[in-house]
Subunit: 348 residues, 2 copies
């Protein structure tokens, strides 16, 4: 109906609506990817907008919807953690999900040597692995935007919606398998109370033991420890003092690898008279002798689920408030390997 | 000097400066991570700011510096490309560099089924692998913010600063090695003129041949082709028609792998009477029989260099204008393997 106008007044939404033969409201919804209409109608409006050279005023649109169409992701040490498969996969899942909903994905600065000089321009934030002593995470969680925590939140942090791997089911699967192989006295080496993940693992193992009338030996590690040597040093005195332990569950692969070294040094046989497992796979656990049972953390699915949760909170009236304190879980497959199939009861 | 004030007027920069015993200007620079001062002074100001609970007003700061402290990265198919090592490594390098400078890194939405509903809130943009028919890239390159292209820009796209792998040096190394082994008649299979990378490869190979009084056989492929079958189908008629070709250079590993299949089907011996190389390593080229010579694209270093370039353009008065049309290169190692060490001249 109208041909491209050159040097004339800017093309308005009204022009687009007239060209496409729809109401202004329908044209607006079609261009925003919202509203109910046939694909044909939506496509017709878009073609009209394109043909007329219509460009929504970004600022006006931002003011109207109050949205930046950007979602933030925070990780205490994002830059350093890009070396790990976990964070790379998490980020890939988050980016894919954000782009599916036509949102930008902002990897928030993890330079913690100075305070942020400005608040990030985002509609919401995903905080990956919230740690109690992460001041930036705390700062972000107190911003007036919805927050999804990618993993359980430790005590004394602001409440938010949680999306986490289903560690409880996975760890119970590991414990049950070890029990079927004869294990009775578990030791758990898990991050201290700064980590919501560590807290959950402790709860699960303590509850499982209580159901069997026993108590686990608990060793506190640090969340970010990525050193077999450190874990070995931490575990040595405990395993010396507790020869009755017949199952060592390490939260991280490093803890499980450290345990293997200590146990061998003590003359014990991993997979034989003592079982070993990890609550996170990786670091060649599968190639160990014996191969070590481990939980596969679903990093990619978790990253996607965090973003999906955030978008649905943003798109639903009152969605952010309703989500506070909720926990959504993502299945975490367990790889049962030889390290938990030994016949402990028989061999001892 | 001042203790934390509760419920009083907001702490100002003046309060912080007084507490730290420095001028307001110094306090401002210290908190912004700018200016010349000792680390001790900078630290003293930060401690004062922290103790007093000073928080720069984000909006005011944004208005004053005109900066969002966020940098965008655009890739035509960012979400899909996360499956490739190249884009993952590029992104990791970009994020690390951005965070080193305390900037957020925005992975811009690659949903191209609809136009952007708002301009991204970023100080500048890195466009990865700019392709002429990528309308979003064009849109971003026309925004009033500095743009760095991560790879050469095809004709008819807006000018910008370029940071690219040093393909010219790398490909000449490959060609020289093949020539030393007797190759005289190269074929280049490279992306069409939509790709600045493809254009550069053509220029280099044509110039190298001209220096030797010959001309290459040129085959146009598509930039995003990630299929050996497609490349094989494209190469078959050309290699049948040009039995004199004694060196096949594929831009992508897929083109090189396709060439291997065609050459074998034609009864030729890759690494023997015909040499093969790729301008990008990957897809198991190293494990082929014979292992295929290839250029290692420095994705991580390139991602970091693009962001460093953008930050320096932003931090320098007039830096963005001065950078227009400049090309900065990052070394690209060449892995010479058996596929180019055959004695072509002798065997034919």
């Amino acid at each position: 109906m109208t041909s491209r106008r050159r040097g004339a007044a800017p093309v308005t939404l009204k022009d687009v609506a007239a060209d496409a033969g729809v109401s202004v409201a329908t044209a607006s919804q079609a261009l925003a990817g919202r509203g109910r209409m046939t694909d044909v109608t939506r496509q017709r409006v878009r073609l009209s907008a394109e043909r007329l050279g219509y460009r929504a005023n970004a600022l006006a649109r931002g003011l109207r919807t109050g949205r930046t169409q950007a979602l933030g992701v925070h990780h205490q040490s994002a830059a350093a953690s890009l070396a790990t498969a976990y964070f790379r996969d998490f980020l890939a899942g988050a980016i894919e999900a954000a782009h599916r909903h036509d949102h930008d994905l902002v990897v928030l600065s993890s330079d913690t040597t100075r305070p942020r000089t400005s608040a990030p321009r985002v509609d919401g934030v995903v905080v990956v692995d919230p740690i109690a002593d992460d001041l930036r995470a705390r700062e972000l969680m107190e911003m007036p935007v919805p927050v999804v925590a990618g993993e359980h939140v430790p005590a004394h942090m602001p409440p938010c919606a949680v999306v986490a791997a289903d560690h409880a089911t996975a760890v119970r699967t590991v414990l049950d398998a070890a029990a079927a192989a004869g294990a009775r006295r578990p030791l758990l080496a898990a991050p201290d109370e700064n980590s919501g993940w560590g807290n959950l693992l402790r709860e699960v193992v303590v509850a499982w033991c209580a159901e069997r009338g026993t108590t686990p030996v608990l060793v506190s590690t640090q969340f970010a420890t990525r050193s077999v040597d450190t874990e070995r040093a931490r575990l040595t005195p405990v395993l010396v003092a507790h020869p009755e332990v017949d199952l060592v569950v390490g939260a991280s692969p490093f803890a499980a690898l450290g345990a293997l070294q200590v146990l061998r040094a003590l003359g014990r046989t991993p997979g034989g008279d003592v079982l070993v497992a990890a609550c996170a796979d990786g670091q060649g656990l599968r190639e160990e002798d014996p191969p070590v049972t481990a939980v596969e953390l679903p990093a990619h699915a978790l990253g996607a689920a965090c973003v999906e949760r955030l978008v649905s909170m943003l798109d639903t009236e009152g969605g952010a408030d309703a989500a506070l304190g909720t926990v959504q879980t993502v299945p975490a497959p367990v790889h049962l390997r030889a390290s938990t199939s030994g016949a402990v009861g028989v061999l001892r």
